[in-house]
């Protein structure tokens, strides 16, 4: 069977660096949807991109009461998506690199690795993700303060799911 993919865009850094790939990426409504997502996430009201002979300009605003229906079927906003939106003021998510069960502590009745408010060092263990009966330590990728713990201990996590919000310090 051959690979199928849904059109999607790598979660870009900023509109400025989002160079249209292949000459037609921007014209795809799905592509544009991503840009709009970015605008919403960062609170932009206007976005203009030019390059490679292409130009896109998007202006966000209210249009009376016309067509408000929340369309979310293809992108049921998952917890991860919603939380990323909060990641505004420099706060960055730490995501699960694997599928498994999230554990905040090495064992029951034992203190959690980290609590909200803790400052963690790069390489410090933040939690365990249990996969195939193996406990995998998840380490901080940078020094920062734990702002929020997004998953309850004992709950399953998927690949790429944000589990902590950490503010670099």
């Amino acid at each position: 069977m051959s690979p199928r993919r849904r059109a999607s865009v790598r979660a870009g850094r900023s509109p400025a660096t989002h160079a249209p790939a292949g000459g037609r990426a921007l014209f795809d409504p799905r592509e544009l949807g991503k840009l709009v997502g970015l605008m919403e996430e960062r609170g932009l009201v206007e976005l203009e991109i030019e390059g490679g002979g292409e130009r896109v300009r998007l202006v966000r605003g209210r249009v009376g009461e016309v067509a408000a229906p929340e369309i979310e079927a293809s992108a049921r906003p998952t917890r991860s998506a919603r939380r990323s939106a909060d990641a505004d003021g420099g706060v960055r998510p730490i995501t699960s690199p694997m599928v498994g069960t999230f554990h905040r502590a090495p064992a029951p009745e034992v203190p959690a690795f980290v609590e909200v408010g803790d400052v963690v060092e790069r390489g410090q263990v933040l939690c365990l993700v249990e996969a195939m009966k193996m406990m995998n330590e998840i380490e901080a990728e940078f020094r920062g303060r734990v702002v929020e713990i997004l998953v309850e201990s004992g709950r399953p996590v998927e690949y790429g799911e944000p589990i902590f919000l950490v503010e670099p310090v």
């Binding site: 069977m1 849904r6 599928v99």
Partner: protein, 441 residues
């Protein structure tokens, strides 16, 4: 019965399994790659787990991640669908080691039938004729040459771990043998296979006929008719139809008996089908056994009314097959076209965005697809299967001919015209055709 099944597949195959689960009241977990989070199969399942990045190997073929998803979400069984991991003995074994039921045959069936030379030996011992060929899998070109000299040309060189027309090459003389050998070995890179090959006599004028069967854990085998898959382009099936047209007198029964013998030889359970090459002289030869639900399972389903995917789940859960007779009654005629994206030759990396899609409808028409506007599809992907069922072959054919022009897939080059050409061809309408017919057309 299972409570929750993880479906280790995507697209139409995943949707098909999901339907059967819903009918049985079993909850479903879809897996997806990061690129597929919004895909139809991920949206329609009860739960969705992203199991890895976009590459197949990192997600849909990522066994540890899939198993972790099943375990962390409390699944009690895994259904591999068809394609991807469906015929992987290693995957089935990994499931069972993790305490998850594998919805399919037993690990040993996958291993035995997945190893083509071994399968040949077993089936031959059970009294089913196989084409003259190598007894052992071969690793060296020198060994291949030795066997070739013994059997004579033309020859077929197959990857021992191949399947679905991949890694097959015809050698008409000693010179062509080397490249056919290289092609077969390249299949090793595609999955769980080894790099061994297998050589057998190549039948130029033959039909490809498969017998559908279903077996439960009490080794009760139910036969569900045959289908003819001789319309192939470059060994890829385009059209499947059942019953096979104009089989020589008595041959249908012999094929069914041979298929049942092959299944019994390994104590097979669950859904499977046995492929035969049928010569013009009425002689037939075992090719291989497909140890899974087949892509064209809708043909036997239309003919018998039996839901093969549902039965497969029931059998895996330890239930007996629910069909009363040893042979399901076959009603009418069914023909199915498997329509693919058809990018320019060689451009396998081409991608196309679907701009419009419409499924044909009508009496006797069944469509299988997970295509949506906005999907980006690969250059050779199966986009939609269209089946027509009718009281007679003529009726099924008329319905299918009327249905194909109603397939709308804008934005993607497809092989729809090729299918329309096949259905309009007097040779096909007269039937039967040989496996080489379409390539020579």
């Amino acid at each position: 019965m299972f409570r929750k099944i993880l479906i280790a597949n995507r697209g139409e195959a995943a949707l098909r399994v999901m339907r059967a689960c819903r009918e049985l009241g079993v909850a479903t977990i879809a897996v997806c790659s990061t690129a597929d989070r919004g895909a139809l199969h991920a949206r329609l399942a009860d739960e969705r787990v992203c199991v890895g990045p976009d590459r197949l190997e990192d997600s849909y073929l990522n066994v540890p991640s899939i198993l972790a998803a099943a375990l962390s979400r409390g699944a009690d069984a895994v259904h591999p669908g068809y394609g991807l991991l469906a015929e992987s003995g290693d995957f089935a074994e990994a499931c069972e080691r993790s305490g998850l039921a594998f919805v399919g045959p037993r690990v040993r069936h996958l291993r035995l039938m997945g190893d083509k030379p071994r399968a040949r030996r077993i089936v031959e011992k059970a009294g089913v004729r196989v084409l003259p060929g190598s007894v052992e899998p071969l690793a060296d070109l020198a060994d291949v040459r030795a066997v070739a000299d013994e059997i004579g040309y033309p020859l077929l060189v197959k990857a021992a771990a191949g399947g679905g027309g991949r890694g097959l090459g015809v050698a008409r003389d000693a010179e062509a043998l080397a490249s056919a050998f290289a092609l077969a070995r390249s299949e090793r890179d595609r999955g769980f296979g080894n790099d061994l090959v297998y050589v057998e006599r190549y039948l130029e004028r033959a039909r490809h006929v498969e017998i559908q069967l279903l077996a439960d854990r009490d080794r009760r085998v139910v036969l569900l008719g045959e289908r003819d898959c001789s319309v192939q382009r470059a060994r890829r099936k385009l059209v499947a139809e059942g019953p096979a047209v104009d089989l020589p007198r008595g041959l249908r029964g012999k094929l069914a008996a041979a298929a049942a013998a092959a299944a019994a030889a390994v104590g097979y359970t669950n859904v499977g089908s046995v492929e035969f090459l049928v010569g013009d002289d009425g002689e037939f030869y075992f090719i291989e056994m497909n140890t899974r639900v087949q892509v064209d399972h809708a043909v036997p389903e239309a003919l018998t009314g039996v839901d093969l995917v549902r039965e497969g789940i029931l059998v895996a859960a330890g239930e007996p097959v629910s069909i009363g007779a040893a042979e399901a009654s076959v009603r009418g005629h069914a023909i199915e076209c498997r329509i693919r994206a058809a990018g320019p030759r060689g451009a396998t990396s081409a991608r196309y965005a679907v701009r419009a899609f419409h499924s044909p409808g009508g009496l006797g028409i069944r469509v299988a697809s997970a295509l949506e506007v906005g999907d980006v599809v690969a250059g050779d992907e199966v986009l939609v299967k269209v089946l027509a069922h009718g009281a007679t072959r003529a009726e099924a054919l008329a319905r299918l001919r009327a249905a194909l022009p109603e397939v709308v897939i804008d934005g993607v080059p497809t092989d729809l015209e090729l299918h329309r050409g096949v259905l309009a061809d007097p040779a096909f309408a007269r039937g039967p055709v040989h496996t080489t017919w379409l390539d020579a057309r």
